[in-house]
């Protein structure tokens, strides 16, 4: 079970003056159960890339295999792919439209062809897993807070029982607590349901804290692909393309420069703390 991208190219507005190659020869293998972070500045090709993964955008050339099947085969069931690969767009709460929260979450499974009862069960389960209080289920989604609306929108995708969940900047515009809550929720789903998660984010701190693999996009190409500690080692190169490393990584490098032998690969507060404490203790 995996997604394989083989030499995927995508060109916007082919044959016009605005022709832009958004993806250039992308080769990637996404294994089952991974938690992946995609980073890259605006216009680097992140969103185009994720839209390929559930067939919203068709590659200009190259192939994509989902669980061993070529998704561009004539008889490939694209509809099924879209339920297996759930995509949560940026500001997904803008897509809420039903009169009650429950109906909104039922929309996806109903569209999948499930009957009312089955869809209802799915909706219940999904709303429960995003931690929305039951008392709210039959209220209008528009009266919720920003963070709650976003949970409902995520539940709408979860109700389709995807195997892969892709989230495009799920924490944009949320307050710090709301940010942590959404990310903890995603991490929980990853752990408990062994769902493959692909997280597009502008926050290096969040990416470092949660994911186990980072893909850095730049100019339509994969610039780096590896463990957070490996990728953030290239903080100078990342800066050159409008990205950065987490603040603590910079601190660790600066400490090292001053002759304090800390672990330069630390990317989270926890790692940095442990390394600094260790060095301080062995020094005393």
């Amino acid at each position: 079970m995996s997604i394989i991208l083989d030499k995927v190219n995508y060109v916007y507005s082919t044959g016009t003056a605005y022709e832009i190659q958004a993806l250039k020869d992308i080769n990637l293998t996404i294994e089952d159960g991974q938690f992946i972070g995609i980073i890259g500045h605006t216009g680097s090709g992140k969103s185009t890339l994720i839209q390929h993964l559930n067939g919203l955008v068709k590659a200009t050339s190259g192939a994509i295999y989902f669980n061993g099947q070529d998704i561009y085969d004539e008889d490939y069931n694209m509809k099924e792919l879209r339920t297996k690969v759930g995509l949560v767009f940026q500001y997904p709460e803008h897509q809420l439209f039903e009169t009650t929260i429950f109906d909104d979450v039922c929309f996806g499974p109903k569209n999948q062809g499930l009957n009312k009862n089955e869809a209802g069960l799915r909706a219940f389960e999904a709303l429960k897993s995003v931690g929305l209080p039951e008392a709210l289920y039959y209220q209008s989604p528009f009266d919720l807070s920003g963070g709650q609306k976003r949970r409902v929108a995520i539940a709408g995708v979860l109700a389709m029982k995807p195997e892969v969940l892709i989230l495009d900047e799920p924490t944009a515009g949320l307050d710090p607590k709301g940010r942590d809550e959404i990310l903890d929720l995603i991490a929980k789903m990853h752990k408990e349901k062994n769902m493959t998660i692909i997280l597009v984010s502008h926050s290096m701190e969040d990416v470092a804290k949660y994911v186990d693999r980072i893909i850095v996009m730049n100019d339509g190409q994969v610039m780096y692909d590896g463990l957070p500690r490996e990728v953030f080692r290239h903080y100078k190169e990342l800066e050159a393309v409008g990205l950065a490393a987490p603040q603590v990584t910079y601190l660790m490098h600066e400490l090292q420069e001053k002759g304090i032998p800390v672990d330069m690969d630390a990317t989270t507060v926890e790692e940095a703390k442990n390394s600094i404490l260790k060095v301080m203790q062995s020094n005393s």
């Binding site: 515009g173 307050d175 710090p176 502008h202 290096m204 409008g242 507060v269 703390k273 600094i276």
Partner: protein
């Protein structure tokens, strides 16, 4: 009195049913007192729904107080006669750059505000040029805004406000939709305006890192000002901020955690340089 002064300001959102009976009342601002000195860089923190944006809309006279008074540049926002002048004195920049840009060419967008105010043509061009220069966007003056990055668009929006020559500019989460580079560009532009032109800045944000350089910080929760002070005094209260659904910059958090683990580090460390210095001292003293 400062350029913005609120005295026991209250705002209630009142929902009515079809017959006009009151269905529910939500108090978004609850007896807020603030006093902002001209030329200051003020940050307002608070979680979603804490009342920050409602407060911002009051400063621009988009909303009228339910109780209490707000003066902008000495003018009471409750008096409709003042509305026009208040909006000239306090410009506003919103979260989504795409919702604020209306023209097809950057310089025309920036000129829209002063043109609306009846500024003579000659002067409009001077203002357009100057404000685009002040946000570092002059070379894009004849570009189409829809080809710009988020950070660039947001800087055009700021230039559009600057062209109206306000004394004060209110930015409501101007960087929420931007990538790290865009965020940096916008913040730099806002700080420049504050430093070089003496424009009073009210920055509403969720990013703790953006608050570090402010002169004064207000923290809002449930419509009330629950904390206020310099960034250092605010960020030295890590646990209290967390109670209000906020956090602290990553470096401050690391310093706090190290202190909790027994290292002799001061409270309220804000920058990498400060923490670096503290750790260096500690290391060499022991060694």
């Amino acid at each position: 009195m400062g350029i913005i002064k609120a005295s026991k300001l209250v705002h209630e959102y009142i929902r009515r049913d079809e017959e006009g009976n009151v269905e529910s009342i939500q108090t978004a601002i609850d007896h807020v007192d603030i006093d902002v000195k001209a030329g200051d860089f003020i940050a307002v923190l608070g979680h979603n729904g804490s009342g920050k944006s409602t407060l911002a809309k009051h400063i621009n006279a988009l909303l009228e107080p339910s109780e209490g008074t707000l003066w902008v540049d000495g003018k009471d926002t409750k008096d409709p006669k003042n509305t026009y002048e208040i909006r000239r004195a306090a410009g506003m920049v919103f979260q989504n750059p795409d919702n604020q840009i209306i023209a097809t060419v950057v310089e025309e967008d920036v000129g829209f505000g002063p043109e609306n105010m009846g500024v003579p043509c000659e002067e409009i061009w001077t203002r357009v040029e100057e404000s685009l220069k002040s946000v570092g966007m002059l070379k894009y003056r004849s570009h189409s805004p829809n080809k710009l990055s988020g950070g660039q668009k947001q800087r055009v929006a700021i230039a559009g406000v600057m062209a109206m020559e306000p004394k004060c500019i209110v930015l409501d989460e101007p960087t929420a939709m931007l990538d790290p580079n865009g965020r940096k560009e916008v913040l730099r532009a806002v700080h420049e305006l504050n430093r070089k032109k003496g424009v009073t800045v009210i920055l509403i944000t969720h990013y703790m890192e953006e608050v570090v350089d402010a002169d004064y910080v207000y923290v809002m929760d449930k419509g009330q000002v629950v904390m206020q002070g310099t960034p250092r005094s605010i960020f030295s209260q890590v646990e209290k901020l967390k109670e209000h659904r906020l956090d602290v910059p990553q470096i401050t958090l690391l310093a706090h955690e190290l202190k909790k683990s027994g290292l002799a580090i001061a409270d309220g460390i804000l920058t990498r340089e400060e923490l670096l210095e503290a750790l260096e001292k500690l290391y060499h003293r022991k060694g």
